[in-house]
């Protein structure tokens, strides 16, 4: 019947001219997706072209979900190789050994950007050796699988972690657990860089669109999260066990108790330049670039590459007094809930630009080095800025000229790709 044919063609055309998305979250990302022109929310059980999923869904469904070539999803199947604390360290250590064999000590030595970490109870004895080599040192215990800062505590004496001894007993507070929960013990950085007497860490966003070959983008915006209390090691003696607010202030990533506890990355960069001069700060930011790239390289062979996948990582970096950056953690699902209007704007920009890079609309040529606030950091090799062949193409904490840049970019874009 002609009518049926026409309806069918119309239906097919509709689905080709707009992008159907699904989204597990109800925060900023949903707003951004809804506001994107020609993107519509997929029907309840209908087909979708794009899914901003949560890791739980991924774990359960990825392996038996068929996806057309054009479909995109926001996680890699085994991202946890990078984002679970114990696996990240394992991969970093392994890669370091490999590098030592292949490129020598010097190259491997550059992998000292993460604090000494041991998985417990698995590596308990190795840990004790290191512990004894550094008398008086402070260590931080973090549960491997939990997030939001739960279960983190500091310790200085072995007796506080007796439960994680290799042949350890049942952990008292968790009678439900069949065995002791896997933790990592990490060397606590006792001389963090302070501003106004307060400790802070940095949240940086890295977007990976492919692991083989490795293609990674660095966002210009980010922020420094300040602790509410003045930093002091002495408070650890009094109440070190099970206390997260004094010790590390890294409470839930979603939980931002006070407006104003954050500085934009640009503000931080300017502050550091005013204090230490541009050269030293340039070195610092180069060192951070190295952290991002090397951490991704260390899991490159392990992560199952899939052209459908991309991932936006939230890197947590801590600076010490010598302005050396340390990698604390990588998050596969960085919080997208906004703590303030400024934060909301930042996350909107970030997510809009992420979608620009993923480019479901087919507007990019593939040769771009900047898309909105993202700078191409690594493309199967280092990426340099246009005007020099030694300055890498990253601008963390620099001015985000995305409005102008996007206008220019899409002004001369090829036509819409047919889906």
């Amino acid at each position: 019947d002609v009518k049926d044919v026409i309806t069918h063609i119309k239906g097919a055309q509709e689905s080709r001219s707009c992008i159907r998305f699904r989204c597990s979250l109800t925060n900023t990302i949903l707003d951004v997706l809804r506001q994107r022109p020609s993107w519509v929310e997929a029907k309840e059980d209908g087909e979708w072209d794009f899914y901003w999923c949560d890791v739980a869904w991924l774990r359960e469904n990825f392996d038996h979900t068929y996806m057309d070539e054009h479909v995109r999803i926001c996680h890699f199947r085994n991202h946890y190789e990078l984002t679970r604390k114990n696996l990240m360290v394992k991969n970093l250590k392994r890669y370091r050994k490999l590098l030592e064999r292949e490129a020598g000590r010097m190259e491997a030595a550059k992998f000292d950007f993460y604090p000494s970490t041991f998985e417990l109870p698995f590596e308990y004895h190795l840990f004790v050796e290191e512990f004894k080599r550094n008398p008086g040192s402070t260590w931080i215990m973090k549960p491997v699988a939990r997030s939001q800062g739960k279960g983190i505590f500091l310790f200085r004496k072995l007796k506080d972690i007796m439960d994680w001894k290799k042949d350890g007993n049942r952990f008292e507070d968790q009678k439900d657990e069949i065995q002791v929960e896997s933790y990592v013990a990490q060397r606590y950085i006792e001389n963090p860089y302070l501003i106004g007497g307060r400790k802070f860490d940095l949240r940086v966003y890295v977007l990976v669109t492919s692991y083989t070959p490795l293609k990674a983008w660095l966002y210009r915006d980010g922020f420094a999260r300040f602790s509410n209390t003045r930093f002091s090691l002495s408070s650890i003696d009094d109440n070190y066990v099970h206390l997260t607010n004094v010790a590390i202030q890294k409470t839930a990533p979603d939980y931002d108790p006070e407006k104003g506890c954050k500085w934009q990355m640009q503000q931080l960069r300017r502050y550091l330049i005013a204090k230490h001069g541009a050269d030293i700060v340039e070195i610092l930011f180069r060192d951070m670039d190295a952290i991002f790239v090397r951490s991704l390289q260390s899991v490159q062979k392990v992560i199952i590459n899939d052209k459908h996948c991309f991932e936006l990582y939230g890197y947590d970096i801590l600076l010490d007094e010598q302005l050396k950056p340390w990698l604390i953690e990588v998050n596969a699902s960085p919080s997208l809930t906004a703590s303030s209007l400024e934060d909301y704007d930042l996350k909107c920009r970030l997510l809009e630009d992420t979608l620009h890079v993923v480019d479901m609309e087919g507007r990019l040529s593939g040769k771009e080095k900047q898309v909105g606030g993202f700078d191409l950091m690594w493309n199967d090799g280092p990426v340099y800025t246009d005007d020099s062949d030694y300055r890498t193409n990253t601008h963390l904490g620099c001015m985000n000229d995305r409005n102008k840049q996007l206008k220019q970019l899409f002004k001369c874009s090829p036509g819409q790709k047919k889906l």
Partner: protein, 525 residues
């Protein structure tokens, strides 16, 4: 009075000011020490000593000190002018300032009586010890400040300025297009746009600037590299006059702390550090009522600010010392204000028992701590931070809350703002005037705080660069007018003061230098 007399009286003034200063003693000591140097011969002693001092950089330091003094002299240097005249030449302004001071002091005294807290008391030993341990984190203290109110807020001060009248000036003409529509009704001379263009000539489009993204004249990054190179040279030469000229085009971020130090001639000698230590000791030993006012102010303003909350502790360390620093009393010689006097208990009115209160003579008001906050971005050693703040206060900030005829005084700035607006944006001004949304009511708080807390930090620092470079606060009046010009379209749509406030509530995205350039050089006259 001819130029010759004026010059020699200026010289005499400066010599008088500098003799007995720290620099004088240092140079004397240096001169004595250099007698051992082989280049100094007895026969040509005077010349050799001079030559030695010249070579070892002391001439430069003396030059900077003289330049600093010259910057501070604003009057005609008439040798027979009485001291009040140097403070403020216009009698009616002096009278207005005196009565305003009476009000403030009354308010302070009554708060003191109400709360039964002495203006000053010596701390018991255990309290002193406690404060000493908490010195670097006074912000963690949460004293009960609910009963304290700021002594006054900028808007109270604005009301006083609005009612300021020159008794010799008869303005009985009917209001017309030529009369002044604004709130300030005193006939002070302010620069018009063409004079401002000349005064701020280095801001014109022909000069490179820091604070703009692109220039049609010179590629911005080439300018920035060259400018930074010149900046380093200026710092190496330690020439404060050159630095002042240089900074008119803005300061590179990494050189700013040193440049400001050079221009303000702030030293970091052991004597300065020791003096600061003495101030901290006096904070520890004595508790002043105004301390609570500072606490409250910091908690209400800086601690709530996205950028400055981090520096809370520094603010206490600076402000509490500031209020005990009697060297600040020096600035009352050229400030129309007079330090408030209080009397030791039971001796009211007896001059021998009169003390200046607080010791530095400055009573804080709501928002005062915002003068210090941006400086924390540049200096993190308290002694230096303190010295720079004190110098900034004694050169500029005091003019923003005393009634005077100075061209950098708040009265002139308000008048300048209103005049610029009325002359170049008459339609806007008239509209706002008709809906009872006088522009000054919105712009006043920006100017009193030198835009601190309203602009983004980097923009604020670029603005303050120009204040130092031109040794004048007039730029903030121009900026205030430029902001109104920038948002004129939206402002024409509003129908109430509240709506106008809303349009101008958020200045954090403004780029100061382009705004100033457009207003100064692109406005059609």
């Amino acid at each position: 009075m001819d130029e010759g007399t004026e010059l020699s009286s200026t010289i005499a003034q400066i010599v008088h000011k500098l003799s007995g200063s720290q620099l004088h003693f240092q140079m004397e000591r240096q001169a004595k020490e250099c007698l051992n140097h082989p280049s100094v011969q007895l026969e040509t002693l005077k010349e050799d000593v001079k030559q030695y001092l010249r070579k070892s950089g002391w001439e430069k330091k003396l030059q900077n000190a003289v330049y600093q003094e010259l910057n501070m002299i604003h009057t005609s240097g008439n040798p027979i002018a009485p001291p009040e005249h140097i403070k403020e030449p216009l009698t009616y302004m002096r009278k207005a300032q005196a009565s305003w001071e009476k009000r403030i002091l009354k308010s302070l005294n009554s708060m003191c009586t109400e709360l039964s807290i002495p203006l000053s008391r010596k701390r018991p030993i255990n309290e002193q010890k406690e404060l000493l341990t908490k010195w670097n984190e006074m912000g963690t203290d949460e004293p009960d400040l609910s009963h304290f109110r700021p002594v006054y807020a900028p808007k109270d001060f604005l009301e006083v300025l609005i009612n300021l009248r020159n008794p010799n000036f008869d303005n009985s003409d009917q209001p017309s297009a030529t009369s002044h529509w604004g709130l300030i009704q005193v006939p002070l001379r302010v620069k018009d746009l063409s004079e401002l263009r000349e005064f701020f000539s280095e801001l014109s489009l022909g000069y490179g600037q820091l604070g703009i993204e692109e220039s049609s004249q010179v590629p911005q990054d080439i300018f920035e590299n060259e400018h930074a190179r010149i900046g380093r040279k200026v710092l190496a030469d330690q020439d404060s006059a050159a630095a002042e000229q240089y900074i008119r085009q803005g300061s590179p971020t990494e050189l700013r702390a040193e440049l400001w130090g050079l221009i303000l001639n702030v030293t970091s000698d052991p004597e300065d550090i020791m003096y600061y230590e003495q101030l901290t000791t006096s904070v520890i030993q004595h508790d002043l009522l105004v301390d609570n006012l500072f606490y409250k102010d910091v908690k209400l303003t800086a601690s709530n600010d996205d950028y400055y909350f981090v520096f809370e502790d520094f603010l206490y360390q600076v402000l509490l010392c500031f209020s005990r620093d009697t060297t600040v009393l020096e600035h009352f010689k050229y400030n129309s204000a007079t330090p408030p006097k209080s009397y030791i208990r039971g001796n009211l009115g007896i001059e021998e028992f009169a003390v200046v209160y607080p010791p530095n003579g400055v009573i804080p008001f709501h928002g005062f701590s915002m003068y210090v906050a941006p400086l924390c971005f540049l200096y993190n050693e308290p002694p230096r931070l303190y010295s720079v703040f004190r110098e900034m206060y004694m050169r500029y900030f005091f003019r923003l809350h005393s009634i005077s005829s100075s061209s950098s005084g708040i009265v002139s700035l308000c008048l300048q703002f209103e005049t610029l607006l009325q002359t170049h944006l008459p339609q806007l001004f008239y509209h706002l005037h008709e809906i009872s949304a006088q522009p000054l009511r919105i712009a006043f708080k920006w100017m009193v705080r030198v835009f601190s807390g309203y602009l983004a930090t980097d923009q604020l620092l670029l603005l303050w660069d120009r204040i130092l470079g031109y040794n004048s606060l007039e730029i903030i009046a121009v900026l205030a007018a430029a902001v109104f010009a920038f948002r004129a379209e939206n402002l024409m749509e509003v129908t109430s003061l509240a709506a106008a406030e809303a349009v101008l509530a958020d200045l954090s995205t403004l780029k100061v230098i382009p705004l100033l350039q457009i207003f100064l050089f692109a406005t059609v006259t």
